[in-house]
């Protein structure tokens, strides 16, 4: 079993991996981000970042979790249903700043954590700047 297949098996996912650019890509609506964070920690993978992308035609926001495993770039796409995703900050300290930034700029709520302003120095309107105005 390859590394990628064993990751899918550990996460209980049946979706196939794709190669997108230089990244091994796994998209699944049922991906448990906390289980993913625990698995990546156990495998000593390095957390890189979370990319939030607004999908075309008001398709909502997708979050891509990027990790480095022995030099391989692994990306996991998770839809932010109802603009909410579980926080992984308590499992992965490195996710702190990017969760705060995505919260401020895309109004995504990472449940299970508190926020201290990161980039927005004044005001409390979340979701400004990087989110379409009509959303």
């Amino acid at each position: 079993m390859s590394t990628l297949e064993s990751i899918s098996a550990d996460l209980g996912l049946n979706e196939a991996w794709e190669l997108k650019g230089s990244s091994h890509w796994l998209a699944s609506p049922t991906l448990d981000v906390r289980k993913l964070a625990e698995l990546m920690r156990a495998r000593k993978a390095r957390f890189i970042t979370i990319t939030a992308t607004e999908l075309p035609e008001h398709g909502g926001i997708a979050l891509d979790y990027h990790w480095d495993l022995d030099g391989q770039l692994l990306s996991f796409e998770v839809p932010a249903e109802n603009n909410q995703v579980e926080s992984i900050y308590d499992l992965c300290e490195a996710a702190d700043w990017i969760e705060r930034e995505v919260h401020e700029y895309f109004a995504i709520d990472f449940s299970g954590r508190d926020y201290v302003p990161l980039m927005l120095r004044a005001g409390d309107k979340m979701g400004v700047n990087l989110r379409e105005e009509d959303e």
Binding site: G21, F47, T49, E54, G71, L73, A94, M119, R121
Partner: protein, 360 residues
């Protein structure tokens, strides 16, 4: 009784806008809180309204020190979307400019570290050395800050006179080996300010996901040039310096050794510079829908770019940048705990923070 000392946003050591609230007990730091975002520019959002030529010039402005790395990263990501491969000579020139940029960045950092140690002669020496690198970059590109070297599918300018670069490398290496490295590693003044100060353990470094010299100085042997080679790095022989102690001295030593490794890479790239064109790219680009990723080892560590594009659009749908300081700076909180207040400016500087990058 503990008390709080606000440091910044105009910083006493680094002319960059961030604020560190230090909780102290006497002269000992107990904890710290870091505030950033004072000059956040929204470059990622701006990129969504720029075409594929403008977006390169825009991303070059993310950082004033490693501007070339950002154009290299965004070009590599766009090339992935388009399925383009630059010609071999362009890949070598990308390595040459990236290593020159690492040289001037690391020497600049050594100068600032010297200044913060109270070693102003060292500051002047380092800046005199750095000027030689800047002169070479200016000779290649015509510019001292934004070199505009990268384009989609290759590079804009050739390296026509390798001899001047080789002369500069000889000079710089001699100064490093005879002057800078011995002083930083043997002088009692330097050691008293660096050794055992601002420790970040290997476990902390891994947990915080730190990158670049900060990670390598805490025993993590990660370097994107080696782990996931890009441009022509696969054809270069070089070592990845790693120090286990995790203190300011380790971060200093790692960067000093990396300067020597950059000289080694530059000599190889210049001696093996293949003939051929500078770019391979059609006159007009037609974008498919897709995503491209780029990871590059900048002077401060891994830069990550994610670019997504919709078919027939002139502008990217999304450009996301994760800069090295964004990954490294939260580690300062661990480094300053238990440190003397007077050591905190040097500890912060030892990460080589860049708030231009962070406030992208």
């Amino acid at each position: 009784m503990s008390y709080q000392i606000p440091m910044g946003p105009y910083h006493p050591a680094l002319e960059e806008p961030y604020k560190l609230d230090l909780v102290c007990d006497g002269e000992t730091v107990q904890d710290a809180k870091l505030n950033v975002g004072f000059n956040f520019r929204g470059i990622e959002h701006l990129a969504e309204s720029r075409n594929y030529i403008q977006v390169i010039a825009l991303m070059e402005r993310v950082c004033g020190i490693c501007s070339n790395i950002h154009t290299l990263s965004v070009c590599q990501a766009i090339e992935q979307v388009l399925g383009l491969t630059p010609p071999p000579r362009a890949l070598y020139i990308r390595v040459i400019v990236a290593e020159l940029e690492r040289l001037h960045s690391h020497v600049l950092w050594a100068g600032i570290a010297g200044k913060l140690m109270g070693f102003k002669t060292m500051f002047m020496t380092c800046f005199a050395i750095r000027e030689k690198v800047m002169d070479v970059l200016q000779a290649i590109s015509g510019n001292r800050v934004n070199y505009a070297m990268n384009r989609i599918g290759g590079v804009n300018r050739d390296v026509t006179d390798p001899a001047i670069i080789l002369l500069m490398i000889d000079d710089l290496e001699r100064d490093m080996v005879k002057t800078i490295i011995p002083i930083f590693t043997t002088s009692r003044t330097a050691l008293s300010r660096c050794a055992g100060i601002g420790v970040l353990t290997e476990d902390q470094a891994r947990s915080l996901g730190v990158v670049g010299p900060t990670a390598r100085a805490s025993g993590l042997p990660q370097d994107i040039r080696r782990a996931a080679p890009y441009a022509a790095y696969e054809e270069m022989e070089f070592n990845v310096p790693v120090e286990p102690s995790g203190d300011v001295k380790a971060r200093l030593v790692v960067r000093a050794l990396e300067i020597l490794e950059s000289c080694r890479i530059l000599r190889q790239a210049l001696s093996k510079l293949p003939p051929g064109g500078l770019y391979s790219c059609p006159e007009e680009l037609e974008f498919p829908s897709g995503r491209g990723f780029s990871r590059v080892e900048a002077p401060r560590g891994e830069v990550f770019y994610s670019v997504s594009w919709e078919e027939e659009s002139d502008s990217p749908r999304r450009v996301h940048v994760r800069t090295p300081t964004y990954a490294n700076m939260p580690a300062v909180r661990c480094m300053v705990r238990g440190a003397r207040l007077a050591d905190t400016p040097l500890i912060q500087a030892s990460v080589d923070p860049c708030y231009s990058c962070t406030d992208r």
